[in-house]
Amino acid sequence: MGQITLQGVQKSFGPVHIIKGADLDIADGSFVVFVGPSGCGKTTLLRLIAGLEDVTGGAIMIDGKNVVDVPPAKRGLSMVFQSYALYPHMSVRGNIAFGLKMAGLPKDEINKKVEGAAATLNLTPYLDRKPRELSGGQRQRVAIGRAIVREPKAFLFDEPLSNLDAALRVQMRLEVTRLQKQLATTAIYVTHDQVEAMTMADKIVVLNAGKIEQYGSPLELYERPANLFVAGFIGSPKMNFVTGEEAKQQGAATIGVRPEHLKVERDGQGWQGTVSVAEHLGSDTFLYVDCGPLGMLTARYVGELGLHPGDKVSLTPEPGRIHRFDEGGKSIRA
């Protein structure tokens, strides 16, 4: 079991409020990603759940029990650190076994569990090596092994893949997701990379300046962003925002259209503009179009249209794909 609930969780360091009251329900077995720009408080929130920081106010419930006064070790969680935080003087075996040893498990049981975890993570040949003799990806796996071997109520991941190179990151992303599904253990995963968030999460928590902006499934966030911040943060390239007359006609202060929802034509009735940069990726094309009073808009076109800087184009938003926001930036739902 690993159901985690936050109720009005606050954290301040002196006069600085890092977390301004967070409420959250994390279902058992789900994979939840905290995402947001740097400094938004996502790591702090994770550390509060871990017990590495004390809350200033509010409650953290794990399986219905308030744990704010419970030391980290007794919360039944395990954590994978950004730096991996492997014990440099212990072998891989020692690293994975440490938590079980601290829990006072009998030796043969520890061995069985360590070898089981090592087999799952393809670490068996490296069990007797020291962390410094391993590659980055292998170290990452040891850190994960250390987390899974304790069969915790939930895994906490703090930007675990950010020190890996791009190719390895994609591979580890898949492995972590697969492992989590296989173990069916709740996972909370912190990242600033929205691609990681979209691909790994069952549910995403978007944080900004210490507040939860939206909590929902990746597709919900993509299709129905709650506000301007989420709309701008989720999706790549970024959503286009248009204000002024064009927005007013739609009954909103700001309207937003994702680049992939703009129809690009050489001659058309849509917004008129001039291509200023065209990025040809082969499979698709990103156009940066100067639309005069509307500003610079980004459009994504699947395939190749043979457009070049200076060409005139027309951009038409797909009907029903226009997001409307009020003065306060909140989404207007029809």
């Binding site: 590495l52 980290p72 730096s83 601290m102 250390r146």
Partner: protein, 276 residues
């Protein structure tokens, strides 16, 4: 990346470095040689560099006539004792400042450093009088105590800079793994800190062994360590060069060996981490 250097340049710099190194080391070498000469040869002009009558009689005489081992034991007890006590006080203090820093930590550290800057001569008078009144003059306890206090700031500083380099993440990982503070100390912190602890220990043994202000002023015979013992050779009637050399060689040999082991840590220790 090390760059390729022409052979010629390498030969020149090697020759120059060896020459300078030899010149700097020469006084020590000369002293060691003199310790194996007879008194007559030690004084002889022209001096003989290698082809003299090698003898170990000076070493025997130094022990028999002036009880060298007694002073060596004093040195070991005073340097060792003061260092160990300083470590015992400093480890918890440095641990606390490195891992639970507060707003005042930096001020406390700098203040500790500033106590080391106080010239010993500035407090010579009261310390001497206090020691006289408490019967601590010429006692090992008195010297252990004062050397311990004198080196405490350096010990704390060195340990602090070493502890500071242990990533906080790892301690947090241990906490997540269920280690109590005690077990965290035993299983994680101590093994990771051992190189730092060792070099701090070594450097402070050296400093305490060679300390020559308090030892000269507060000890005469009973508690006199090697620094004071060697100083007794300065009186004109005691000028037996070969024996002086033998006693000196014995006095510096152990510390020279320790010093060579700790030279890499020496810089950061003595500059309080300002140069690494």
């Amino acid at each position: 990346m090390a760059r390729m250097v022409t052979t010629q340049r390498k030969v020149i710099s090697t020759a120059a470095a060896w020459l300078v190194g030899f010149l700097i080391f020469f006084p020590i070498l000369w002293m060691v040689l003199a310790s194996f000469k007879t008194e007559l040869e030690a004084f002889a002009i022209p001096p003989s560099f290698l082809f003299f009558h090698w003898t170990t009689e000076n070493y025997v005489t130094v022990q028999e006539r002036s009880d060298y081992l007694h002073h060596a034991l004093n040195s070991i007890l005073i340097a060792g004792g003061s260092t160990l006590i300083a470590m015992l006080i400093a480890i918890p203090a440095a641990w606390s400042m490195a891992f639970s820093p507060t707003k005042r930590t930096k001020d406390i550290l700098l203040w500790m450093l500033s106590t080391k800057m106080m010239p010993p001569v500035g407090v010579l008078v009261p310390i001497y009088l206090i020691y006289r009144d408490f019967g601590l003059l010429d006692t090992r306890t008195g010297l252990i105590f004062i050397l311990c206090l004198g080196n405490l700031p350096i010990v704390i500083w060195m340990l602090f800079t070493y502890f500071k380099e242990i990533p906080k993440d790892i301690l947090e990982a241990a906490r997540m793994d269920g280690a109590t503070i005690g077990r965290e100390l035993v299983y994680v912190l101590t093994p990771m800190a051992i190189p730092g602890l060792a070099s701090t220990l070594l450097l402070n043994l050296i400093l305490a062994w060679n300390e020559a202000f308090w030892t000269l002023n507060l000890s005469t015979l009973e508690a006199a360590p090697l620094t004071t013992f060697i100083a007794s050779y300065s009186s004109p009637e005691g000028l037996f060069w070969a024996k002086l050399s033998a006693a000196s060689t014995l006095a510096i040999a152990p510390i020279l060996v320790l010093g060579w082991f700790s030279q890499r840590q020496l810089v950061r220790g003595l500059t309080f981490g300002a140069v690494k």
